[in-house]
Symmetry: C2
Subunit: 373 residues, 2 copies
Amino acid sequence: MLHIFEFIMTDTLPVTVPEISLTNKYYFVLSNSSNMKKQATIKDIAKRLNVSISTVSRALKSAPDVSNETKASILAVAEELHYQPNRLAVSFRVRQTNTIGVIVPNLDYVLSTMVKGIDEVALEAGYTVMVCQSNESFGREVLNTSRMLQSLVDGLIISVSSETKTFDHIKKFQERDLPIVAFDRIVPEIIAPNVILDNEYAGYLATDHLIQQGYKNIAILAGPKNLGISNARMGGYLKALKEHNIKVDQKNIIHCDFNQDYAYFATKELLKSKNRPDAIFTISDRMAIGAMIAIKERGLKMPTDIGLIGFNNEPMLSLLTPTISSIEQPMFEIGKMAAKIFIERLHSEESAITTEVLKPRLIIRESSKRIFN
Amino acid sequence: MLHIFEFIMTDTLPVTVPEISLTNKYYFVLSNSSNMKKQATIKDIAKRLNVSISTVSRALKSAPDVSNETKASILAVAEELHYQPNRLAVSFRVRQTNTIGVIVPNLDYVLSTMVKGIDEVALEAGYTVMVCQSNESFGREVLNTSRMLQSLVDGLIISVSSETKTFDHIKKFQERDLPIVAFDRIVPEIIAPNVILDNEYAGYLATDHLIQQGYKNIAILAGPKNLGISNARMGGYLKALKEHNIKVDQKNIIHCDFNQDYAYFATKELLKSKNRPDAIFTISDRMAIGAMIAIKERGLKMPTDIGLIGFNNEPMLSLLTPTISSIEQPMFEIGKMAAKIFIERLHSEESAITTEVLKPRLIIRESSKRIFN
DNA sequence: TTGTAGGCGTTATCAT
DNA sequence: ATGATAACGCCTACAA
């Protein structure tokens, strides 16, 4: 171990890091690995009190069969030595880490709120959450699962990437008997609990609302074809039309990426057609923004000329002009529910494979409200 | 182990989870812990080939002193048995987990992008990242650090909560010789590398820009008093004023929470005063939104009557009317830099305690641009 | 109530 | 080039 600058090395280094500066780099050099305190173990405590390590082990977890006397002294010494259990050793020994692996495609508004929900109940239950982002990449997701599998987690809570079509990497958890819970995006092939939004109902809600407001020629920017949530939301759209005896016009169903620019161009095209839609339902808020821009460019007014409703109810929607209607997911609740189910599965022998379907809420704002009562 | 519903239990369960429904709950019951495959260990491989476990261990990490022959056969069997090293055992043995603990106050736009940067280089270097949110709570932060410390991480990359005033919980990492890197928000007391934005320069940039645009009576919504970044950004504000010989009016310096509502009320008050400011610099975009709402309510026009500039350059700013100027942080780079420094420290004996100060960028939009050239 | 001892899966130090 | 063995820190029968 090389101590190049030992002269600076003291226990209470009087160096203060400058808080801010216009130049680029300040540095102070000191040696590493100097005052490395070795962590106390139960062995140390045992030695100190001339008791066996098993007694210490028992006392520390206040097993019923230790005398209060010895227990007290052990606890005292543990305190004094700043004893911290070596979680790695415990995990290794008892074959569980008290850590939940969470994999999400990204940490956008919706998902990060869901993760916060997971965090909430996991922490409560004494679990640590390990969050990894797949960046919507299948390869990354597989890498993440495989690292997690190498024994660091007690199970997996996952929202799969959009690229994910096969699920072997997830099934591996089951083979090791580790619980899995899927949320947000469903995992069809896998026999695992799912916690999702009622996307069909959400699509229905949005479309029905537009119809109620007197819109008759309603287009949908439906996201990528064959994506679960796309189909489900579109299913609700179709259902609402049918219920109101409105004929489906295939030209009103646009499949495009979950993406502001795509939505912009798609809307631009839509508005050019001679029988242009008088309302648009986009299955994400970002897409709604794209649509909005195209609508404004075209000189159309919302909600009079054309109605618009998005999906997710991101906070910015209420800041736009006009404010934009949307569908709100119970994000936090979805996260909490996923974690709750996960923990239940962790503790129970038999396990009901449930699909929890949470209800969305319609948020009506200016962009779609043209009837007042 | 209770197998209540064994009759359903088969290897390839033909049950498919319904993708979506309007009712609330579908479930199928099956038994847990059925096809639990025990994970193969080096012992199993050794037994299979009648070699010692040490040989297997060596072969698996292709040590120089194994014959190619035995190595090949070992690798083959490992493959066949789907051998995966037990990371827990390895970590326990070698006392390092190849996991980096990351603690952030939340996962908003800025921080989640920074985390993505950390993720990027950590993954590259073979490390797994474990992200925890402190929710701006000191207690939560301490809990997180203590859990991480119980040996699951090789070090810490942290953006401290706003409540954090003492740093003992962070110092504990040093005592165990685990590297720490602070980012986004600086950790003054701790001798650890910092990666931050040049907040003073950022404040200077914003204020100077407003001055260049002819604004003379510039207010600042400066965030909580005594918060590092608040003071730094305000420092830049003061510097710019001084440089242009503009007298500082204490009434133009408002300390309020990082929060849209506070900013709204503060701005409302500001605009009532008889010598009202003709421009406002808010040190977050959320605060800029609050200010914008107050400005509009008052019937003032941006940028003619009053100028406005925010901080962070969140994407929504370009969607508002008028579009809002802001200061952009190199978020991704800050994250990458933090991870890079972290990994350097992990691998090097002596360590330079540096403060990396990255430069912001001024993004001019409608809300502050009233001079065209 | 307390102690002894074996073992979790791996690595590393000795021998051979 | 390979094998035996101890050790990492902790838990848990089992014995006393």
